[in-house]
């Protein structure tokens, strides 16, 4: 049986189910208990699990991130709530130098089964320091897994899999999607880390969209269908590990690819995926792989300007149309 719930409810359910199942799972962060986070994702958890397991911290990200890494090393399974993805800069040492490397540097004697839940996404009028999509930063670091749910269904299944993973996993939710509803099974399910999903089958161009860019790609595919162009939509679901097989298989079929992601385009996730396609499916490509990331500027506060910085369905469709019709997107 499925019912429609919001992404916010899906995350709440995932955490509650895992906390009931495993008493070593704890929740740590700012405003996670009394306030239930600014996005109200965690409402009700402190009532069920108490303040021993749902722990409000001071506004000191490096501090609580360090506490969580230590707790993970010594037997707990902390879920750290980082209120905005932009605050990743504050926890870089605890996350990238400690959590990511401890298993390796202890010769496998220590695990860090930790989940860092945070968010990404612009167009919420939150200005340059609360609108960034910084998943490429952590995807770059060996030892960290990175999940990018694109719906309530994925958010629940990936978060539960992340909590049960024995290694640090960073999970990015799009802060504009918390109220988006999707069908989610009543029964328990996990979505394995490292399996992409083909959300729409097509023949002429593969649109690869992460997180909310999956919806952008799906809308673009609808626009293209009206033009008689058949687009396939692939959601990688996790960046690390990346399901290359599904992505390359799709591109080998369609011969064309556009990678859409909300991180900055320069040196970003789109570049990595596009490079792997170019490297490994080169002889199947009938057009250059196109990257579509966020504009390489600080996210503007002005709504009119902010909306220009992220890929839109129309822009994705325009590029796809050009590729399929053999019109060069960039100068020859």
């Amino acid at each position: 049986m499925t019912r429609e719930i919001t992404l916010s409810q899906a995350v709440n359910e995932a955490i509650a189910e895992e906390m009931r199942r495993d008493e070593t799972v704890i929740l740590v962060g700012e405003d996670v208990a009394e306030a239930g986070t600014p996005f109200k994702v965690l409402s009700g958890l402190v009532e069920e699990f108490g303040t021993d397991r749902v722990i409000d911290t001071p506004i000191a990200e490096p501090g609580f991130m360090g506490i969580a890494v230590g707790a993970a090393m010594t037997g707990l399974r902390p879920i750290v709530d980082l209120m905005f993805g932009d605050f990743l800069y504050l926890v870089m040492d605890q996350l990238c130098n400690q959590a990511a490397k401890t298993h390796y540097m202890s010769g496998g004697k220590l695990n860090v089964p930790l989940v860092l839940r945070t968010n990404l996404g612009a167009t919420r009028r939150s200005a340059a320091q609360h609108s960034q999509s910084l998943h490429a930063l952590v995807a770059h670091i060996p030892g960290l897994k990175v999940a990018m749910p694109s719906s309530a269904y994925e958010a629940k299944g990936l978060l539960k899999a992340a909590i049960r993973d024995d290694n640090p996993v960073v999970i990015f939710e799009d802060k504009l999607m918390y109220q988006d509803k999707a069908p989610v099974p009543e029964e328990e399910y996990l979505l394995p880390l490292g399996e992409a999903a083909i959300l729409r089958e097509g023949l002429e161009v593969t649109l690869i969209g992460t997180s909310s860019m999956r919806q952008v790609c799906e809308k673009a595919a609808e626009i293209l269908e009206a033009d008689g162009i058949s687009a396939e939509v692939v959601d990688p679901r996790t960046l690390v590990p990346l399901d290359e097989g599904t992505i390359l298989g799709s591109v080998r079929k369609t011969s064309r690819a556009i990678v859409v992601d909300e991180g900055h385009q320069n040196f970003g996730v789109t570049a990595e995926i596009a490079a792997r396609i170019s490297e490994k499916a080169f002889y199947h490509l009938d057009a250059p792989v196109i990257r579509m990331g966020a504009m390489d500027v600080p996210v503007p506060f002005s709504p009119a300007l902010e909306d220009l910085t992220v890929p839109t369905p129309e822009a994705v469709a325009a590029n796809a149309r050009a590729l399929v019709r053999g019109v060069p997107v960039h100068a020859l």
Binding site: S255, F282, Y283, H284, L285, D286, A287, G326, P328, L332
Partner: protein
């Protein structure tokens, strides 16, 4: 003293070069060190310079020609009066001269594909700008596989970059060339008679794959087996026990033995091999669009298949 102009060796493993542009015409005066034509190898495009002063004479290769290393391309003669006519009739680069450029194409110009001068102009101006034909990786791979010369498509006015659709569009779908052969049936019949397990169609598929591999020196060969009921099955490397990775099938095999039909040419533009049995022996009919398979390759392929049917042991080589 007249000086020979030969195709230079520009790379270690290069055995031919494509002349992408003539920078001088037959009869033009040239100075030592002056570039006279551009040549493209698999790696780079380079200008070839005159070795001496004189007049360009007796030009033998046209733009687009792939000339073996060391072959004579032209002479540089001392006196203007010694200039011989160009033997290609095409040492001309003027884009408007459509007829002359067409004459330089290696295959027969096809009237319905006669380009208008506008796209040709664009293609020719690009040829000067880039030297190499711009094509997508997949188009380049398929062109190689099908024996299509991308320079020829450029000369026909196909806009660059060339995509897979251009390969198909440049040659009207459904226009096939045909080759047929009749092969002595004795040895093959004997194998079929004596073996309780031999499957004729499968054996023919493996002969076709082996012949293709031998003719075109490729590592993976898939064959589609089709019958007149429209049933289709793709077999991967039938000559190697089916091992390997699926690729686009190179040809379709239609086994007509046991029917009175002796040939079937589909309109889909693919390479199709029909095998029929008549009183005279095994009849082979290869239908192939020359866009995908050039005549010399097709003829060699039919020969290879024929000798395998005549002497199946050859398949083991």
């Amino acid at each position: 003293m007249p000086c020979e102009v030969r195709m230079p060796q520009l790379g270690m493993v290069q055995d031919s070069g494509v002349i992408t542009a003539w920078l001088k015409r037959n009869g033009d005066p040239v100075k030592a060190g002056e570039p006279i034509f551009e040549v493209e190898t698999d790696k780079a495009t380079m200008e070839v310079e005159a070795a001496t002063d004189g007049y360009l004479s007796g030009v033998k290769a046209a733009e687009g020609d792939d000339v073996p290393v060391g072959d004579l391309i032209a002479m540089i003669v001392e006196a203007e009066g010694d200039v011989e006519e160009a033997s290609t009739g095409a040492s001309v680069t003027e884009p408007e001269d459509v007829a002359v450029v067409e004459a330089a194409l290696r295959s027969e110009p096809k009237p319905e594909m006669r380009p208008t001068s506008a796209p040709l102009e664009r293609a020719m101006s690009k040829s000067v700008a880039f030297g190499r034909v711009l094509a997508s990786p997949k188009a380049r791979r398929l062109a190689t596989k099908r024996g299509i010369d991308l320079h020829q498509l450029r000369a026909q006015g196909v806009a660059e970059p060339i995509h897979v659709a251009d390969l198909d569009a440049a040659f009207a779908v459904g226009r096939n060339s045909l080759l047929s052969a009749v092969v002595d049936p004795t040895a093959f019949d004997e194998i079929l008679d004596r073996s309780r397990t031999a499957n004729r169609t499968r054996l023919l598929a493996s002969f076709a794959a082996g012949a293709w591999r031998a003719t075109f020196d490729v590592s993976s060969v898939s064959v589609t087996i089709e019958d007149l009921d429209g049933q289709r099955e793709v077999v991967i490397n039938p000559d190697r026990g089916g091992a390997g990775v699926a690729e686009d099938p190179v040809l379709t095999l239609v086994d007509l033995c046991g029917t009175r039909i002796n040939g079937y040419v589909p309109m889909d533009g693919g390479v199709t091999l029909c095998v029929a049995r008549s009183a005279a022996g095994y009849g082979l009919l290869l239908a192939f669009p020359e866009s995908r398979l050039a005549l010399p390759g097709a003829a060699a392929l039919v020969e290879e298949i024929a000798v395998r049917i005549e002497n199946p042991l050859l398949q083991l080589l």
